[in-house]
């Protein structure tokens, strides 16, 4: 029982990471119908920005939490810029082309970022500085660190903020309009280019936040750290119903829990396979994901 509760904590902790990265996937997909495969690499860049920034920032502010907050916000801004540049130069020129074209460009951008990072940062893993000193929280025999709690709380806060932004603000409304119908939104006077840029900026900033939160908890970073996490986050987004914010969160948590339970109780050698099996099983019964809207076919 004890070990089960511990696995539950492990699963939620892992799931919240997938959820955070999945949010960016879902946002970009919702607006452009584009699977931005480079998203996982932006997550990696976020962690590397954090790595270099924290060398500058650490110890310069009154508290550890403030250190972490400054590093995170600066890194989010950095990645938002990367996201905007990526959209402007790689995706905008072919926005009207087929979706496969966009997808191939996304794969190309992802390869470019990975290979350039291996060249610039080196292939060896780096140690992400301890922005927040670790303390243990014991609950009986259960073990939780303050870092895990901070990650979870920040992730939740970011999700709520994002939700408020999309459903309560004017810009968020415009974003939803663009997502619903790009041409109609344009006719309504919405500056669609600006909204799409903004979507990329937001999504990339969230990925950067994910990168930093993960690195606080698991301090080894390397240029390919985004590949598997990105793929799993994408699976989480699809599982929950791609384009749906709560779906991404739900999908992330399910995937995290499933992986942990399989590795903990089933066969750890099949961990990745079972994550995908669950996905396939769910999609067979709910072809558009758990919370996704079934698309009405126009005849």
């Amino acid at each position: 029982m004890e070990s089960f509760l511990q696995q539950l904590i492990n699963g939620i902790s892992l799931g919240s990471i997938y959820a955070l990265v999945a949010l960016g996937y879902t946002m970009v997909y919702g607006v452009l119908r584009l699977i931005n495969f480079a998203h996982g690499d932006v997550y990696m860049l976020g962690a590397y920005f954090g790595y270099y920034l924290s060398r500058l920032v650490q110890g310069r502010t009154p508290s550890h939490l403030l250190d972490a907050a400054v590093v995170m916000i600066l890194s989010m801004i950095g990645c938002a810029l990367i996201g905007v540049i990526m959209e402007r130069f790689a995706y905008r020129p072919v926005r009207r082309a087929s979706r496969l074209t966009l997808l191939i460009i996304a794969i190309g951008v992802s390869l470019l970022i990975e290979n350039a990072s291996q060249l610039i940062f080196g292939a060896n893993p780096r140690f992400f500085p301890q922005l927040i000193p670790e303390t243990h929280i014991h609950m009986g025999n259960l073990m939780l660190t303050n870092q895990q709690v901070i990650v979870l709380v920040t992730a939740l806060a970011l999700m709520i903020l994002l939700n408020l932004f999309i459903y309560r603000s004017r810009t968020g409304k415009a974003m939803r309009a663009v997502s619903y119908n790009l041409d109609a939104a344009k006719l309504m006077g919405i500056d669609t280019d600006r909204i799409i840029s903004l979507t990329f900026a937001l999504g990339s900033a969230l990925a950067a936040a994910g990168g930093i939160l993960v690195s606080i908890n698991i301090p080894g970073i390397d240029p390919l750290m985004g590949v598997m996490t990105g793929l799993k986050a994408f699976v989480a987004a699809v599982l929950g119903g791609i384009g749906n914010i709560f779906g991404a969160v739900l999908g992330g948590l399910i995937l995290g829990l499933a992986e942990v339970m399989v590795a903990g109780y089933g066969s750890s050698t099949y961990r990745d396979a079972i994550a995908f099996l669950i996905l396939i099983a769910i999609l067979l019964f709910k072809p558009s994901g758990l919370l996704g809207k079934g698309q009405v076919e126009k005849v």
């Binding site: 696995q7 492990n10 990471i17 290979n115 698991i218 080894g220 942990v260 109780y265 750890s268």
Partner: protein, 397 residues
């Protein structure tokens, strides 16, 4: 109709031209290769990019240093050594392609590579068929040198290292119940784990659980929680330092205090940086100890620091050390053969005996595998991430 189609085709001409010029440019860039009067060409193929880029890049650093050291002291047979490096991206078929390229296009007289046994196994048949000697710095799978009599290695093979750690766990640490956490994606880790499990059980120990992770994973809490529930008195983690540091860290977070054991894949200063104090009191088997007064080793570590000290990895890992030795063993064989003819070099390589390199006293046996003693090291790291490995004991084959 055809006319308009032709127009479309014409649009493509600039693109085609650009691509052709790209290809031409890169082809023309290449200097005319081939052995010349004052150079001996050797090839190195490794994973310089891709998921296992750390291995190839480290080995390349070691080889570069060895070749420069050899050339500074007069080269081989009055000629300078020159290494041609090709990247195989960590893919077996690419390894085969670049081995073919190095042998047939560049006409190298010998090959160095690879670290991952999977890539060595794909390329070795090419070397064997062309009768070009190949030395693998770090492929521990016994099958690699079984490909043929032109394939050598300068590292331990899995059975030996597995035996060393099983002996150490049973005799020195008096462990009874050990959990195994292996990297299912790495042949090195799987092989080492298998031989450890076999030997440890033979010596009367119990394997309480044997579970796995995949190279590139970052979260090991699920496996570690499962291990904790089994209450082992030691955990054998035969992986690479890229994951082992994180495993140690997460184990301590979960309140697992028992010792971790591993193999030479742990050997890197990056391990200390990531794992930190969580690694204190952990042990691994290695080819050498930095405390060893062996002048070749001391010079290697010093040179490595001055040459690559600017980047994070200021202390060489096992791959760099093995790459260094592979190049030295090759140069030594050429000197003894007094020739660079591949078949003479092969014969000289097969007779390598008691060669003193960085990784200790290397002798190649009749199966072309390195026979050399292993050392067991204890990891000691302070809270700033500065570590050192303390020599515990030597185990001879």
């Amino acid at each position: 109709m055809l006319f308009s189609d032709m127009k479309k085709l014409r649009n493509m001409i600039p693109l085609a031209l650009a691509m052709a010029s790209f290809a031409c440019l890169s082809a023309c860039n290449k200097k005319d290769a081939g052995s010349s009067d004052n150079e001996i060409l050797i090839g190195h193929y490794g994973s310089l990019t891709g998921a296992t880029a750390t291995f190839g890049q480290s080995a390349q650093k070691g080889i570069e240093m060895a070749v420069d050291a050899i050339n500074e002291s007069g080269g081989v047979l009055g000629k300078k050594l020159k290494v041609i490096v090709e990247d195989d991206q960590g893919k077996p078929e690419e390894a085969q392609t670049v081995a073919t390229k190095l042998i047939s296009k560049d006409r190298v007289v010998a090959l160095l590579g690879e670290i991952a046994s999977s890539n060595s196994l794909a390329a070795a048949p090419v070397a064997q068929a062309n009768r070009i000697p190949m030395i693998s710095p770090g492929s521990t799978n016994p099958k690699v040198t079984m490909v043929g009599d032109y394939i050598f290695r300068v590292c331990f093979i899995d059975p030996f290292q597995g035996l060393v750690m099983a002996k150490f766990a049973t005799n020195t640490l008096k462990l009874k119940k050990v959990a195994v956490l292996r990297d299912i994606k790495s042949d090195y880790s799987v092989g080492l784990a298998n031989f450890f499990v076999e030997n440890f059980a033979k010596m009367g120990g119990t394997i309480v659980t044997d579970i796995s992770y995949s190279q590139g994973d970052k979260d090991f809490t699920a496996q570690l929680t499962a291990i904790k529930a089994k209450n082992p008195d030691g955990i054998f983690v035969p992986g690479y330092y890229t994951e082992v540091g994180l495993i140690a860290l997460q184990a301590r977070k979960l309140g697992i205090t028992v010792t971790l054991l591993g193999g030479d894949g742990w050997d890197s200063s990056d391990l200390w940086k990531i794992g930190g104090t969580a690694l204190n009191g952990c042990f691994y088997s290695n080819h050498y100890s930095v405390d060893d007064p062996n002048p070749i080793l001391q010079k290697f570590v010093k040179d490595y620091k001055t040459r690559y000290g600017k980047t994070s990895d200021s202390i060489p890992d096992a791959m760099a050390a093995l790459g260094y030795d592979a190049a030295l063993v090759l140069a030594d064989a050429m000197k003894r053969a007094n020739s660079t003819r591949p078949d003479s070099v092969r014969d000289a390589l097969a007779q390598t005996k008691g060669f003193m390199g960085v990784t200790g006293n290397t002798t190649l046996d009749s199966n072309r595998n390195a026979v050399k003693p292993a050392v067991v090291l204890e990891v000691k790291v302070d809270d700033k991430g500065n570590g050192r490995n303390v020599f515990k004991e030597t185990v001879s084959p």
